[in-house]
């Protein structure tokens, strides 16, 4: 997509061909330049990646895991599980709508607080993933809530968390529907971003 012919360049450029009087680079030093440029660039890229990994990786956690080993309060995590049926409360602070609901993996439940519009596919009794920080106690402040474009769908990570947790404690409402469990058994794939 670029570039005129070499003759065109020299014709249009006001300067004469530059460093003719300079010492010519030898073949070896030119190759060295190339190798150094490659190495330098990839070293920078690696450094950037490692640095970003240490600070901005987001781990997925189920509510029981969060309660067992609470992450630092400034660490962003993905909290996943089922929305406890009947737990959704909506309120208003000034003109900002606040949604509060409980997320459970059948072993423990955490209260999630979210300012904003819940996704169109958010339903009580269905799976959800909330992105945010855990502030101790049972307070999780979500900056983003994700639900999938499918009623029987369950994110793989949620399904795995539910399977790991074993038995479903009836205190946390109805267990997932049979369709959801079937999709779990299939090892449901697909995303969790129903933005």
């Amino acid at each position: 997509m670029t570039v005129p012919s070499s003759t065109g360049t020299s014709r249009h450029s006001p300067e004469p061909q530059g460093s003719r009087h300079k010492r010519r680079m030898t073949r070896k030093s030119r190759r060295l330049w190339l190798v150094l440029a490659c190495l330098g660039c990839f070293a920078v890229a690696t450094g950037l990646v490692l640095n970003a990994f240490s600070s901005s990786i987001v781990f997925f956690m189920a509510p029981s895991q969060v309660l067992k080993a609470p992450p630092a309060s400034d660490r962003v995590i993905r909290l996943g599980g089922m929305v406890v049926a009947g737990s959704l409360r909506r309120s208003l602070e000034g003109q900002t709508p606040i949604n509060q609901f409980e997320v459970t993996d059948g072993q423990a439940a955490i209260d999630v607080r979210y300012e904003g519009i819940l996704p169109d596919l958010f339903r009580e009794g269905q799976s959800v993933v909330a992105l945010g920080t855990y502030r101790g106690g049972s307070a999780f402040i979500a900056s983003e809530v994700l639900a999938k474009h499918d009623e029987t769908y369950m994110p793989k990570e949620v399904a795995a968390a539910l399977q790991r947790s074993g038995k479903w404690d009836p205190r946390f409402g109805k267990p997932p529907s049979s369709e959801s469990l079937n999709s779990m058994a299939r090892g449901a794939t697909g995303g969790s971003n129903g933005r």
């Binding site: 997509m1 670029t2 570039v3 005129p4 012919s5 070499s6 065109g8 360049t9 020299s10 249009h12 450029s13 006001p14 300067e15 061909q17 530059g18 460093s19 680079m25 073949r27 030119r30 190339l34 440029a37 490659c38 660039c41 990839f42 920078v44 890229a45 950037l48 990646v49 640095n51 970003a52 990994f53 600070s55 901005s56 990786i57 987001v58 781990f59 997925f60 993905r78 909506r90 208003l92 003109q95 900002t96 709508p97 300012e115 904003g116 519009i117 819940l118 169109d120 596919l121 999938k148 474009h149 994110p155 793989k156 990570e157 794939t189 697909g190 995303g191 971003n193 129903g194 933005r195």
Partner: protein
Amino acid sequence: MSSFFGPEQGHYALAFACVLALTQCILPLWGAWRGQRFLLDLAPRLAFAQLLALAYSFLSLIACAVQDDFSVQNVAANSALSKPLLYKITGVWGNHEGSVLLWALILALCGGAVALLGRGLPLILKARVLAILGGVSTGFQLFCLLTSNPFARIWPAPADGQGMNPLLQDPGLAFHPPVLYTGYVGFAVPFAFAVAALIEGRVDAAWGRWVRPWAVAAWCFLTCGIAMGSWWSYYVLGWGGYWFWDPVENASLIPWLTGTALVHSAIVVEKRDALRIWTVLLAIASFSFSLSGTFLVRSGILNSVHAFANDPARGVFILGLLALVIGGSLLLFAWRAPGLAPGGIFAPVSREGGLVLNNILLCALCAVVVTGTMYPPFMQILTGRTLSVGKPFFDATTIPLALPLMVAMALGTMLPWKRGNLRPLLRRLRVAALVALMALIAGCFLLDGILPILCAAAALWVIMASLTDLAARLGLRDGLSVVRQRLPRLPRAVWGSAIAHIGVGVTVLGITGMSQARHAVVEIGIGQTIHQGALDWRLVSVRRETGANYKALVADLTVSRHGRVIATLHPSRRDFTSQHQVTTDVAIRTNLLRDLYAALGESRGSGADARYVLRLHNNPLAPWIWLGGVIMAFGGALSLADRRHRFGAPRKARDRSAHAPIVQESRS
């Protein structure tokens, strides 16, 4: 019509096309090996025949969808009587089976284009290129036939279909897949050229000139496709974002990055006969990433919204096919590349030095995006912990690499070939540098964050440098008479390169603007007003409407500035009854410098105290993101129209003579 385009006819045509593709793969390769000319001549004819058969098959599937033939499983699962005609047609490629068929059709179209436009190619090279395209076609048509048959019937046929995901019922998305696929599949042609060159054991300047138009064409489509996808997510998902670093988005960005590198390194092959092996590798990599992008993602190995297929048979088939195409070509590369004559080595400060720097930085960017995309699934397999990387990761890694790329981009186009000197160049760029510096200072007062300030300065630097370059080439300083003389003679490729680079600057400015976007989520009743900076948003009324297959709630919002109404917005919420799904229909009012963006959430209460949740955005420079993409693609198209790259343009005698011995060799 139904007797001419039926599902069985379509199915048969697909099988026939598959056989033709296999023949197209085997016979010309055999001909090239044994030196039998009539087999070589067969390749273009087989390519046309395969294209005809596939086009017929695809038209049959469209006919099934248009005629609401619900005995075809694919139509029953993805269409419905109530769907508008446009979406019945575009819905054909909105699902897994149909999209694989479309993919195969576009690949056949590429083969047809090579057969038609490659008249000036040496016979044996053309035959090999078509044979490789035929081989890839065979694989994907087999995939379509054996695991994802779009023509499968069901019995009993349902009275009505299940409809399509309402999110996909959108004109933007209707045309996004074909354009994006054309970009992906288009890289099959440079790939085929690379493999053919490896078989032949010869890569030279002429090869660079042949391969570049195809790479540029694919790159243009991919650029447009990515821009369309990003625009779609901006106005359909109602989240106010334009890029989510979703695996599917990354899967399109990765081949775009290697494709951009390919487009630039092919110039070096063409002009300086250097970087040959590297260019061959880039051509293989671009198509490999395109393939893995479309199919790994769609087979559900990476988590994503876009995953259609959850069938293990498909996954295994796709993995096998990918291993064959990518592994095979890389093996061939490892075997043959050392035998290729090494290219020249050159000075760091020169046009080719700049292009090499561009390649290194683009590949580093690509490596970073690949790492960010593949790390989570790998870690999950290795450690069992589920993790994800998102915008913070990609912002922290890609922007620091993109900034030097933009600085170098401006210098590279203005350096002469072979050997240059930075000092006079910087003197010519002093206006651009001054503008960038002013942007840097202004940015410190206007923008939040250090990276947006640097990005704005770099973007203006690129735009100003490209304009300076054009002005210098036109001789703007020597008066209008010189310009008038030079204007018609300036190659289109020069215009194309400058315009594409300006497009990059425009996109980066748009992204910078969007980083300063302000939004508010509010719950208000009718008649209430929200203040956001200098803007006042007022909810005037909310009404109900009924559409073809949905019911909608429509809000009327007025936006005023200092008491003067500047826009009226109508965001709505659609309830698709047949699918029990609700979609948010965003209202956007743009003046090209900023977008007012409103989405309607759920409603609470009824009658006079009904309250509505609204998401209100003020997005500065948002349209520039996609405008820049269109400008980039336009620049690419312009350079395609350059005389020297026009398909079928008469070639210089020396190119013909350079390849003549090979043709004779094959005949003997």
